[in-house]
Symmetry: C2
DNA sequence: CTGAAAGCGCTTACAG
DNA sequence: CTGAAAGCGCTTACAG
């Protein structure tokens, strides 16, 4: 375990640890260390395969070269993809990432934030849950580099990167309307999170613009915390109790998947009996028969922007706020055929 | 940023940092600190919301309370699920996890191991790639707590947790045989990784036991590193060039998904024209029409066992080797109907 | 029963 | 141009 330390190098080079530290940190010029001493140290360091001890360095500088990633659910495809890209990109800058899932539970989220603070991560990437304004606000006041992912907190001016939920849902409604459907149901999560609200708003706005009725009873909100079976049951009930429904929009992919299951069990033919569109893409949507039309998020772009914004904060001191909203993309497949 | 330190508590309690450290580390009894001093310290610590500085502690003890998780691809559903459970379970023991994806690339894997060593993680969970015997062996010699995931390295006696690949593939073949199919093709990854080899072996063994022919040309190996489009093309070619084929087994889920796409494009009716079975389960398999019969891995059990084994190593010194092989489960759906 | 002191491996203000 | 020394916040062997 015992690795090579700066002292070992100093001894071999016949200089002080101070000098070694300067050279290894690229301050040779600044500190006017002679060319030859500098070279000698570098050579010895690489020969000994010196690796600075991050703990010691962190203890001294307060920097851990670690970032914290708090997502809703790391096992969810969207977040798993984000996690992958974040790790890859962070690695390029010498950062490692510590992660955790909130399950959309405030207490878990708070616990996670506490652990990460305690671990002294240098920066945070957070998918906030509801009711965590205070924690985010505290981080902001502590001037911790931070960027919110997938959603933001109204009235708290932080960095964030997310998809354009309003536009995505607007496009979804428009697509349905253009294909001749006007009686459309919407299934969403029972949550007052801003990104879900914006999806409802976007959808409503498109309906309104087209003078299509969109009464309350055509909106179904399902709790994030009930079981899959219950969720499917609720979707079935919703569809059954609105027999006039011609099309249905699921505001998030896991609900869309449940929707597919519900309709399959009911024997409803997607695309024929009922037009179907979902937010978020998924392997399943691409390969299902019929292919499921959806509003895809630019996952890679989101992840890359997140890390970019965070790295900027980490490395510069100028703290302009970066709020990035990326366009959602309508992916047309066969689940919303022209209404005959 | 400046947190409360042990000194602050010592000052308030009117004792030395040493005493505070003893009490906070539960060594009050052992060090025979008086009950009242002990209580006073605990009270002050909680009032001040003292959080030990892990960096300082780690520097001193050499323990970081961090584990390294190296998977093939964190964005893959199997590994993403493992990552989730590993994080949850590790958290219970006060550990956090640092992760990375190898993409099944040896150099990436080695790079990851180097970074984790350098970060001084206390233990490792590793999905090894080919040709990393030396690194694993080195870790073993350094007596680092480690458990291999999803596969093992032959002739290197380490802990590991994985599914029973031989039995799973054997069951897949048997299922097909029992339903009346004898001319069966197998699609796998071109890799000499042990888990893939065992799947081929299990499949072959079942075929042999049933006296069914299983010639080389009925096995298709596809490189992990070619594009999705190329993979699909190769699958198509394989099916087309074996018109006698009655059933097909995909040795891993991403290939199974490609297989679904290939057959869809070819207009082959799964279950009717060709029986279909895949290793690993997936949302898509459950919801596809017809439902896809598969060999499911007990993901949760795998993850829980992994962390259990690792925690045992981390906390005890007795180092018996734990090699856990969990049963795969045949999930029968509608893609292998009784042959008519 | 309790404390002073050393030391983990760095960085950096200060001195020369 | 280079080095001695302090200090980040802990733990622990040693002393009393």
């Amino acid at each position: 375990m015992k690795g090579v330390s700066i002292k070992d190098i100093a001894k071999q080079a016949g200089v002080s640890p101070t000098t070694v530290s300067f050279v290894l940190n690229g301050k040779a010029k600044e500190k006017r260390i002679s060319e030859q001493v500098s070279k000698k140290i570098l050579k010895i360091a690489s020969k000994l395969k010196y690796k600075p001890n991050q703990l010691a360095r962190g203890l001294r500088t307060g920097k851990t070269k670690t970032i914290g990633l708090i997502v809703e659910d790391i096992a969810n495809l969207f977040f798993a993809n984000v996690a992958k890209i974040v790790e890859e990109e962070a690695d390029k800058y010498g950062y490692k990432v510590l992660y955790g899932s909130t399950e959309d539970n405030v207490d878990k989220a708070k616990g996670l934030m506490e652990v990460l603070e305690y671990r002294q991560v240098d920066g945070y990437i957070i998918t906030p849950t509801a009711q965590m304004e205070k924690e985010i606000e505290a981080l902001r006041h502590a001037r911790k580099p931070m960027v919110l992912l997938d959603r933001y907190i109204p009235n708290v001016p932080t960095n964030y990167v997310m998809v354009n939920n309003f536009q995505g849902a607007y496009d979804a409604a428009n697509h349905l309307l253009n294909r001749g459907y006007t009686k459309i149901g919407l299934v969403t999560i029972a949550s007052d999170q801003i990104q879900m609200k914006e999806r409802i708003d976007g959808f409503s706005a498109a309906m309104k613009a087209a003078n299509a009725a969109f009464p309350k009873k055509m909106i179904k909100k399902i709790s994030f915390h009930i079981s899959k079976e219950e969720s499917i049951r609720e979707i079935k009930n919703f569809v059954e109790s609105n027999p006039q429904m011609e099309g249905i929009f699921f505001a998030t992919n896991y609900l869309g998947i449940y929707g597919l299951e519900a309709l399959k069990e009911m024997g409803v033919a997607i695309g024929k009996d009922l037009a179907f569109i979902s937010f978020d893409d998924h392997d399943l949507f691409r390969l299902y028969t019929p292919g499921i039309t959806c509003i895809a998020q630019p996952i890679h772009d989101i992840a890359r922007n997140v890390i970019q914004v965070l790295m900027n904060e980490l490395n510069n001191n100028k703290k302009e706020v970066n709020q990035i909203i990326l366009p959602a993309q309508l992916v047309v497949r066969d689940s919303c055929l022209l209404k005959s």
